[in-house]
């Protein structure tokens, strides 16, 4: 069984760097540093620290986290089923719940590394402007930790969607609609329950780690409600990660691999 489990690790790693999704992920990882570099070189009165924090806030720990998790979460669940490769995977010496656990763990770790690269490159690109970033590595590592938690939660949710819904359309709709209405709208336009979005919990964790507890202008949208502190946010994200991990494993155990002919 250990041998088979290691086989899944190797297969998952291979899947991460194969196909079009790898190009999409590379774009997501490299686009923010590219634009940060452009802004640093050609922008007027651009402070590298503000630029770096701005990119973290508006891109890396928001769209990049969600989109990376979406691409790989859907690929490893309904994508494998649609491609016909799930039939091979689920006829193995490893129970389905463990297959999902291995795939998610490996993918989350790899995406966290990708996020680290994204953050570091963004910081270095911001340094092309005039000024400095006093604690670049501290900020990068802190953001990677927080972003990693966000990746685990999002990945768990998207894999659950891919396992529960029979069609790619259904899975994508279930994945994207809450992301848009709950995460993006609620976070950008804070109203009641805004403290329960994944994004605001990540931002709550960042506050003491990167911003020394000061709500900089980046936090302008969250001045009027209670932003979870580090403890509350880490608890909330851990709870969500646990819930979605379990639901994805349970969904995998109950998922029939039907194939296209069933439709």
């Amino acid at each position: 069984m250990l041998q088979a489990a290691l086989g899944f690790v190797a297969l998952t790693l291979r899947g991460l760097v194969a196909g079009k999704r790898a190009w999409a992920a590379a774009f997501l990882v490299l686009a923010p540093p590219f634009f940060a570099g452009l802004a640093a070189v050609f922008g007027k009165h651009v402070q590298p620290l503000q630029l770096f924090h701005g990119f973290i806030f508006e891109f890396s720990l928001w769209f990049v986290v969600y989109l990376l998790a979406l691409i790989y979460g859907i690929a490893m669940s309904i994508g494998e089923i649609e491609d016909g490769t799930a039939g091979y995977l689920y006829l193995s010496a490893v129970p389905k719940w463990l297959i999902v656990l291995i795939q998610m763990s490996v993918t989350a770790a790899a995406l966290t590394v990708a996020l680290f690269v994204n953050l570091l490159l963004t910081g270095l690109a911001a340094l092309l402007g005039q000024g400095e970033i006093p604690h670049l590595m501290r900020d990068v590592l802190s953001c990677t930790l927080v972003g990693g938690a966000g990746i685990v939660v999002s990945l768990g949710y998207y894999v659950t969607c891919g396992m529960v819904f029979r069609t790619p359309t259904g899975a994508l709709a279930a994945a994207l609609i809450p992301t848009f209405f709950w995460e993006i709208l609620m976070t950008s336009w804070p109203i009641k329950f805004a403290e329960f979005t994944l994004t605001n919990n990540m931002r709550g964790m960042l506050l003491p780690m990167v911003f020394n507890g000061t709500r900089t202008p980046l936090y302008k949208y969250v001045r009027n409600f209670h932003l979870p502190d580090y403890g509350e946010a880490s608890m909330f994200l851990s709870f969500l990660a646990g819930i979605f991990l379990v639901t994805s494993m349970v969904a995998a155990m109950n998922r029939s691999i039907e194939g296209k002919e069933a439709r």
Binding site: Q3, A4, R14, G87, Y88, L91, A93, N254, I257, K260
Partner: protein, 302 residues
């Protein structure tokens, strides 16, 4: 027995894929026949544990297949549709699948399986560049790499050219001769006919018949059989045959008479005397019903 299904049902929403299928399959090669959409693939996927039955029960090699990894590695499965990690070479593909099935020396096992399907030369090429026949063979290689007791092949011969088809038939027979059991599906009866005489017919999710060809023919004896009689005086022979109560339909051309009869045994018994009385010399008697295609047609159209 290798498979025992009792009142097996599978439905997708309101669509019934399998309807109260009860069947047992013995070791050896068993052919699963039915037109496209008959429920063969659904049956096979339940059988190997990829799908859960909606109702009923199934046992494969004495165990329930759903969520049973221990049983899964005793089965080899070759799906109908191509699903590959296209960026891999054939060798990487087979080795990876051997590893996740817990094979200890997976590289050696993959080499053996690849040699067995005669893909050694192309094994290090990317699957993306494989022909249809190569893809079929590499799929069979992954199905046998872990030395399964039961091989489940979903339409393995579809789309193959005659040469590849003969090679694949040879491989399937060789697997069975080495002691393995095979369940192979097809919607083309003569393909199965070359592999086995033991068949299970499925149509519209229902089990239509099971057994060997002769047994199935016995089941359909109430339906007219076609008998072709080649004779030198077909017109006279046809006139004589038309008076017989066993004959329900008759047509002829200058070389032969075709008769449809629901009682072929009685017809065969009477034919020599009828031909003698009509002064016709019978050169050859054949029944297209001996071909499985006709049997299948009878059973599924009624």
């Amino acid at each position: 027995m290798i498979v025992r299904a009792e009142h097996l049902n599978k439905w997708y929403g309101r669509v019934i894929a399998l309807n109260d299928v009860s069947v047992t399959m013995e070791p050896g090669i068993t052919g699963l026949l039915g037109p496209n959409g008959a429920g063969k693939t659904s049956f096979m996927r339940i059988l190997i544990g990829l799908m859960r039955e909606s109702a009923g029960a199934i046992q494969v090699l004495g165990e329930r297949p759903w969520n049973n990894p221990k049983l899964a590695v005793r089965i080899g499965y070759c799906p109908e549709h191509d699903g590959f990690y296209e960026g891999m070479t054939g060798r990487q593909f087979v080795t990876s699948l051997a590893r996740i099935r817990g094979v200890k020396d997976c590289a050696a096992a993959a080499r053996r399986a690849i040699d067995w399907v005669r893909m050694a030369e192309a094994a290090d090429r990317k699957i993306l560049s494989y022909s249809r026949g190569m893809r079929q063979r590499i799929k069979i290689a992954q199905a046998v790499v872990h030395k399964p007791e039961l091989l489940v092949l979903d339409e393995p011969l579809t789309g193959s050219d005659p040469l590849v088809r003969q090679e694949l038939i040879g491989l399937i027979k060789a697997f069975a001769q080495e002691g393995g059991s095979v369940i192979v599906s097809s919607h083309v009866l003569h393909e199965i006919e070359q592999l086995t005489k033991r068949i299970v017919l499925i149509h519209r999710g229902r089990l239509v018949a099971e057994g060997d060809v002769r047994h199935i023919r016995d089941l359909i004896d109430r339906h007219p059989h076609t008998v072709e009689v080649k004779a030198d005086r077909p017109r006279e022979l046809a006139a004589a045959l038309a008076r017989e109560p066993e004959v329900v339909e008759i047509r002829f051309d200058p070389s032969a008479v075709w008769v449809r009869t629901p009682h072929p045994d009685a017809f065969y018994a009477k034919l020599p005397k009828i031909a003698l009385d009509a002064g016709a010399e019978v050169r050859e008697i054949s029944s297209p019903d001996d071909n499985l295609e006709a049997v299948f047609k009878y059973l599924t159209e009624t």
